[in-house]
Amino acid sequence: MTDFPLLSLMTFLPLIGAFFIMLIRGNDADVVQNAKNVGLFTSLFNLGIAFYMVALFRPDTAEFQFVETIRWLPSLNISYHMGVDGISMVFVVLSALLTPICILASWNSVHTRVREYIVAFLVLETFMIGTFCALDGVLFYIFFEAVLIPMYLIIGIWGGPRRVYAAFKFFLFTLLGSVLMLVGLLVLYREVGTTDIPALMEADIPYELQLWLWLAFFASFAVKMPMWPVHTWLPDAHVEAPTGGSVILAGVLLKMGGYGFLRFSLPMFPDASLYFAPMVFWLSVIAIIYTSLVALAQSDMKKMIAYSSVAHMGYVTLGIFTATTQGIEGGIFQMVSHGIVSAALFLCVGVVYDRLHTREINRYGGLVKNMPKYATVFMVFMLGSVGLPGTSGFVGEMLALVGIYQVDTLVAFLATTGVVLGASYMLLLYRKVVFGEQKNADAAAMKDMNKVEYLTLVPLAAMTIWLGVQPSIVMDRISPSVENLLRQVHNERPVAPAKVEPNIMDPKTGIFVPIMPTDNTPKELISDEPPIAEQAIEEQADELNDEMNNRDADSQVEDNGAAE
């Protein structure tokens, strides 16, 4: 592993790109073209770094990798601590993948304030990647909440007719949930004395407090996810947002909720998670069935896909809170799959919307005749959303259902009906739009996809099938982290040395001292008592001495041997 701060580079590179875009001067056409170019180049470069990191990433361990620690707020014991494990790596790649696609998607469809649009997406990328890399609670919160700023502007400035309502609803709903999490985080800080995520994961929190804290964090992640009944902001936001905004919203922002559950709720409040799991199951089941039915009744394409998102996220929460290997892996995979498939579906809607400027399902029909290539690509994503075996959608849904079946068969049964419902509305959508008669002359006259649209959709189609055929590319990387997570949930003490290497600040000197983990209890790891750090150093020194002595003894033996 290199010492180069790759994660910080990935996080802040888009910000630097955005800064340069703001500096561009010249006539309007040049500014627009240059802004697009710089934006695309920056985000593609970032994607390149992401792939490079995947190559360097060691899939055999649950340790946090590419860790960076910088003193930031030492008096509050908050540090700039970044790192990724298998779970977050997946989402980092997803964020890096979708940003250039969003910028490409707006290539020909955004005409007003293009420069600001690109800047907003680059800033958004910074915050998204930061959210997934942050290993300190406060840092996580900062990135998590900062996402609201660019997203609010994206919906509000470039959105549809009811954009103001949608933007406010999105902002206030999410903020309301998040601030409760902030209080929860501060209570957690009071209890444990640090907001360092690895340390918090190992901390033992009293049961009563866990319940309250779980609820505080749940308020935030459930809104972000979004879970029924706090999902109502999502259809509005999706319908009004520009295509790129919808893609990022569905592709990445919703995943922050699921990631939060995996990073905070499960490992930090395991008992509360198990206690509240039935509630989550039922909320998820309601989400799956109810929103599927609602989706069935929609006449607006984007709204239908938005409701289907809520249903798909239902599988994610279902899987995560089973606290079984299959369930959690299924939940994560479902998030990745949904990130690609629903993002692509919104792009598909964007393709026809750009031509006809309506999202009414009934205005279209028979597109297979004049747009055969579009019909093919759309089919791949439609089937992915349905969860056809061979596409990525199947793997996640299947695993999540397997997980829930081990825990609660009734819930599993009800959740499975959602698969049927999901198929029915997606097939309905596809039939009405792509097959059937060509009712309207303008719809029949639409041209097939252009080059830019190819560039955005074909990679996603390939990914959908690739992940469906070879899910192991994701699974292999997340499974050690998932196992580690399960160990934390089920409160098993680590047999081997703890897999985290927290840097603990020595309160006297203010210097971060890396501690070689021994089998000391987690309480000690995070307590403020100064002797621990010294003790650890002494222990290390002792070990070193022992080793030296042994070596001396060995060499003496060798000497003796030579003498003989």
Binding site: S75, L76, E145, Y152, F171, L182, Y189
Partner: protein, 488 residues
């Protein structure tokens, strides 16, 4: 604590105040005899003087590791008072820049404005250095009287005398209450010096007279910081005063008053914490709630900012409720950040003129993102910062306050605080919406941007602090922890 011995040493200890008083009087006489450009010259000299005062306070730092008490126990100088004085002088400097350019545009500029501001600042200096109830009162009155006049400075507007009158009458009632409370305290404790009070009150059991006195004093002080339910004057005064004077009201006096309250409650009345915590708790909660909800229906930007300041005082009071060094430090951080954000917000408002006057209505911001993108983006960042959205400075202010409250076990108050911040976010967002999402009306008057480099420089500087704060938040937060140590 060191007691200074002779009058020269006393003067040396009180150097900032002595210099300010001398300068204000000299400036008054000097300007009165100056025939041309008196306003410009007085403003310029005052700015130079304020820079000088900041330097003097900074230079005095090294000598006050231990608090020094002067003038027979009436006056105290320590880290805390020196730092807050620097902050106050900085706020006055920013306001003076605004006032100069604003009054130059509206042509109501007179040299009394800078003189009054300097005198008001002198009062604030005494407030943060008060070590006796009488010093406290005199400082407070000096500060208030200058502000009353400033509020009605625009004689040509019918709103200005109303603002001044309301401010004066309500302020006088508040001062009466304060004096009444002080007389109770004096009656039951037998002294007005903070040092003596601290000794006498420490470890006292519940005492009705003292509690009544304390309650009345807090009422009087709550008026000055416009905490609910003693906030009624704020929106009217903010609206009636010239915009730049409003900026001064919003930025500076509250810092002095909050710091005074901190010293008073933690020093002499530290022993009565159980009593005053309840009062401050209620004030804090009421201010946050009313500040958030009443702001929702405002159409005037100045009234909106008035309610915003009421809400913000609620958060600052939360830090006082939390108590202890952490709570105190959080108040200092919060007020500093609040000062910068508000200064920036007013900087934007004052840069946009409609018919020569600073914009009044929120609707005037329509389409600003097209006509002046820089101001629109600056305003957006200030609004997000005021709503407490990370990574902007306002978030860190809220973070430390909430943290202090949670650490002291006031979780309910913290929850109310975060919930009201969501409500308040709505009206901050509404301004952003007006600038970015609304289309410009065809028949609207053009908004002119002021051409003054100094004012824009101030705006850029505050913007840089608000955005750049997240890179090195430790600078301010750790510094605040050091400086409140002299209080506890």
């Amino acid at each position: 604590m060191i007691q200074s011995v002779d009058v020269f040493q006393d003067i040396k200890t009180a150097m900032p105040e002595v210099a300010t008083a001398a300068f204000a009087l000299w400036l008054l006489v000097f300007s009165a005899f100056k025939k041309h450009q008196a306003f410009a010259v007085a403003s310029f000299l005052s700015c130079a003087f304020l820079v000088g005062i900041i330097v003097v306070c900074f230079g005095m730092f090294g000598q006050y590791d231990e608090p020094v008490v002067a003038f027979g126990g009436l006056y105290i100088q320590d880290y805390f008072s020196l730092s807050i004085k620097m902050l106050i002088a900085l706020g006055t400097l920013i306001s003076l820049i605004y006032v100069y350019f604003d009054m130059k545009q509206t042509q109501i500029g007179r040299f009394e404005a800078p003189v009054l501001m300097i005198l008001s600042m002198l009062g604030m200096f005494f407030m943060v250095s008060a070590h006796d109830l009488l010093t406290l009162y005199v400082g407070l009155e000096l500060q208030s009287l200058a502000l009353y006049i400033l509020a009605s400075f625009n004689r040509h507007s019918y709103k200005a005398p109303e603002a001044g009158m309301k401010y004066f009458i309500l302020g006088a009632i508040a001062s009466g209450m304060l004096l009444f409370g002080m007389s109770f305290v004096y009656g039951f404790a037998g002294h007005t010096g903070f040092g003596v009070l601290e000794e006498v009150l420490n470890g006292t059991t519940y005492n009705v007279g003292l509690t009544v006195g304390l309650a009345f004093m807090l009422v009087g002080l709550a008026f000055k910081i416009s905490a609910v339910p003693f906030h009624m004057w704020t929106p009217d005064v903010y609206q009636g005063a010239p915009a730049s004077v409003t900026a001064f009201f919003a930025i500076v006096p509250k810092i002095a008053a909050i710091c005074l309250i901190m010293r008073l409650l933690n020093g002499p009345f530290g022993g009565l914490q159980d009593q005053w915590v309840q009062i401050v708790y209620a004030l804090s909660m009421a201010s946050m709630v009313l500040g958030a909800f009443a702001g929702l229906v405002q159409t005037s930007i100045k009234r909106l900012l008035a309610y915003s300041s009421i809400g913000n005082i609620g958060y600052a009071l939360m830090g006082i409720v939390a108590g202890g060094a952490d709570g105190g430090a959080s108040v200092v951080v919060y007020m500093t950040v609040y000062m910068i954000m508000t200064a920036g917000t007013f900087g934007v408002v004052l840069s946009l003129r409609k018919g020569g006057v600073a914009v009044e209505e929120i609707a005037d911001f329509k389409g600003l993102s097209k006509t002046s993108p820089f101001h629109a983006y600056a305003m957006t960042l200030f609004m997000f910062s005021l709503s407490g959205i990370p990574p902007l400075a306002g978030f860190f202010g809220k973070l430390v306050v909430f943290k202090a409250a949670v650490d002291s076990g006031y979780i309910v108050l913290a929850v109310i605080g975060v919930l009201t911040s969501v409500v308040a976010a709505y009206y901050y967002l509404r301004i952003i919406k007006t600038m970015f999402f609304d289309e410009e009306d065809a028949g609207m008057d053009e908004i002119q941007i002021v051409p003054y480099a100094a004012q824009h420089g101030t705006l850029v500087a505050t913007l840089a602090v608000v955005v750049g704060f997240c890179v090195v938040p430790a600078v301010l937060i750790e510094y605040a922890e050091v400086l409140v140590r002299s209080l506890f």
